[in-house]
């Protein structure tokens, strides 16, 4: 992270996310994890491509589907596993769970849309303090339903907030396909606020990275907010076992739009094998460590008077 990265490292990141998420889905039925989870399967190119441009001072604001963003940001595998298991070593000591992560300049929250004004305000604060930081805010197509998103776009444009809105359009919100929740044009939703917007349909991490690069460029030179719409595919269920899409359509997009396959084609078989094996070990170790980690010390919780 934090500097243009070679193809192998990029592939490693994609694979880490993929294997992390697969492990989560596999282990959920075994009762290792709690609550809910939203996996990033199929969308790995977005986070890895976009966040490859990050500078250390930059900030990432993420949403419910945050594991991939967090790992691409450089987050620790074991800490994320531990957070999902409710362990003391988790990213937020088990308090946040899958959707509420904070580490360094990374923040996520499970309330859709509510993060967007936060990201905008963060960008304004960075600007005021002349840190040169940029804020990258991820949101999904369904989140365009939330009004506060538009309030934020207006303020970002009005005050030139250095923020890049990354809309991951997987054309579905939970189980609701785009045509049942959205009308109009997606780029227009940003452009109507005077926000310069790029859109591309790809699962190729290098294409994502290139487009994101232009946005970062634009942002760092003009200071004006930018939007990047990435038409992508969600391979897995929304959360767990709740996919109502026809399996054949899913299968097709897995064939045609797999970021790992697409980018993997740039590597030799040996490289692929090696990285895959290494990541496999990493994941297994991280999972096992997290599993052995202690639960949080409940005595630290301050109680109400009288209990």
């Amino acid at each position: 992270m934090f500097s243009p990265t070679d193809n192998l490292t990029i592939y490693r990141r994609l694979t880490q996310i993929r294997r992390f998420e697969e492990t989560v889905l596999d282990e959920f039925p075994r009762g290792r994890f709690y609550g809910t989870t939203h996996t990033y399967l199929g969308q790995e190119a977005d986070a890895v491509g976009v966040l490859d441009h990050l500078q250390p001072q930059d900030v990432v604001v993420s949403n419910h589907r945050c594991h991939g963003h967090f790992l691409a940001y450089g987050g620790d595998l074991r800490a994320l596993f531990a957070e999902l298991m409710g362990k003391a070593t988790g990213v937020c000591g088990g308090r946040g769970g899958s959707q509420h992560l904070h580490w360094r300049n990374f923040y996520s929250n499970g309330i859709l849309g509510g993060t967007i004004p936060l990201a905008t305000g963060m960008a304004l604060a960075e600007k005021k303090q002349r840190t040169n930081a940029i804020v990258v805010a991820f949101l999904g197509d369904g989140t365009l339903g939330e009004g506060v998103v538009y309030e934020s776009l207006n303020m970002a444009a009005l005050w030139n907030a250095p923020v890049l809105y990354v809309l991951e359009n997987n054309a579905i919100a939970q189980t609701t396909p785009l045509d049942l929740h959205f009308r109009g044009d997606m780029a227009d939703r940003f452009q109507a606020f005077g926000i310069s917007t790029r859109r591309l349909e790809t699962s190729d991490v290098l294409e994502v990275r290139a487009a994101a690069g232009e946005c970062f460029q634009g942002l760092r030179s003009t200071g004006a907010p930018q939007a990047l719409i990435l038409d992508t595919c969600r391979f897995g269920p929304h959360s767990k076992g709740d996919d109502t899409r026809p399996p054949e359509i899913l299968e097709r997009s897995r064939q045609e739009r797999d970021p790992l396959q697409i980018h993997g084609a740039r590597l030799s078989i040996e490289e692929l094998k090696r990285v895959t094996a290494e990541v496999e070990t990493e994941i297994r170790d991280a999972f096992q460590q997290a599993l052995n980690d202690p639960f949080p010390d409940v005595s630290t919780i301050p109680g109400p008077p009288g209990r």
Partner: protein
């Protein structure tokens, strides 16, 4: 045995079949998914035109439904998680609940906003709250809460079909799979349905029916109770367990009141009981401060004065709800907390 979920599904479906003006709006409520907690499952197949899956726009949906209600329909809104009601707060408080009074009693806004609340599923701080307390003191808004006692589906049906005023309908998530305890006797316990209080609240006057029931639970053939307990929703189930345990282990006899209408508050039977026992325990899952129990205790102390010898609330800590189950179980009130509180006030 019918579960709360089945009962709610049936109540909703029956309302749809009775009145063509009933229309259901919510996120992801179409079949085959049928809603995050499945209360709407099957409906879109049967009534494709009247089940409207919506964008992720909680404020907008409630506003749209209120507009529909003002113009003759009976909309039912599902808010996927009660935590998101904060987004619809303005629509509920400054629109739906106010308009009848503000427009000089010349409109009605018969919407029902259903939403699951509560924790214990590890969903974390933004998907586990019991936020109904925010809405219990809103003039013009009624708040109902089914429990696994009596007829949850009937309660919902009545709210949809027979109530002229906006209703917030709070379903604790852990209720869905519970079997329903019917009035009568079961496992050493007697359940009775009481006619609701007679408070002359505006909302009650507006309702076309006689009110929403309060249930009364006590150990069969027990001596006069030492303790008055009151709880709603899933906490009523926990109180049921504690009530038995208190009787068996401690020979403490209590009676439990389970209101289905939280707001406007109607507490006559509870206050009468507390006058007799002198001890009142109020149990809720939401966080303590200014929760439902605060108003119950305030009314009890205003009404009963010194004959209220001891009163106590059991509620969640005043903290966000952590995701980790070990932490969550400390923050939320459990059976032991209720048991200990009951013993401590006697």
């Amino acid at each position: 045995m019918t579960t709360v979920l089945e009962s709610l599904q049936a109540g909703l479906e029956h309302a749809l079949s009775c009145d063509p003006g009933v229309i259901v709006l919510g996120e992801d409520i179409l079949d085959p998914y049928g809603g995050a907690f499945k209360v709407t499952r099957g409906l879109s197949t049967k009534y494709p035109d009247r089940i409207l899956t919506t964008p992720v726009s909680e404020a907008g949906i409630v506003g749209v439904a209120t507009g529909m209600a003002l113009r003759g329909l009976k909309p039912v809104v599902e808010i996927m998680f009660g935590d998101f009601l904060t987004l619809a707060a303005d629509q509920l408080i400054n629109h739906a609940a106010k308009l009848r009074w503000v427009y000089d009693d010349r409109v009605r806004a018969p919407i029902v906003v259903r939403t699951p609340m509560g924790g214990r599923r590890g969903y974390g701080p933004t998907h586990s709250q019991s936020l109904e307390k925010l809405f219990l003191g809103v003039p013009g808004l009624q708040v109902l809460a089914p429990a696994a006692f009596g007829d949850p589906g009937g309660l919902l049906e009545k709210a949809i079909l027979e109530d002229d005023d906006p209703v917030l309908f709070v379903e604790n998530k852990l209720l869905y799979l519970l079997p329903i305890f019917q009035p009568g006797s079961q496992n050493d316990l007697d359940l009775a349905e009481l006619t609701p209080g007679n408070t002359l609240s505006r909302a009650a006057q507006g309702a076309k029916h006689s009110g929403y029931p309060i249930y009364h639970l006590a150990v069969r053939s027990a001596p006069p109770p030492d303790l008055t307990m009151v709880a709603y929703g899933y906490m009523a189930e926990l109180c049921r367990q504690v009530l038995l345990r208190l009787a068996y282990e401690e020979e403490i006899f209590s009676e439990l009141f389970i209101p289905t209408q939280l707001a406007p508050f109607k507490l006559e039977p509870v206050l009468e009981s507390a006058r007799r026992t002198g001890s009142l325990l109020v149990v809720e899952e939401g966080s303590l401060t200014l929760g439902w129990g605060a108003e119950v205790l305030a009314r009890a102390s205003e009404t009963l004065g010194p004959s209220l010898r001891s009163a106590r609330r059991v509620a969640a800590f005043d903290l966000p709800i952590p995701a980790a189950v070990t932490l969550e179980s400390v923050v939320l009130p459990g059976p032991d907390d209720i048991f200990n509180a009951a013993k401590s006030i006697l």
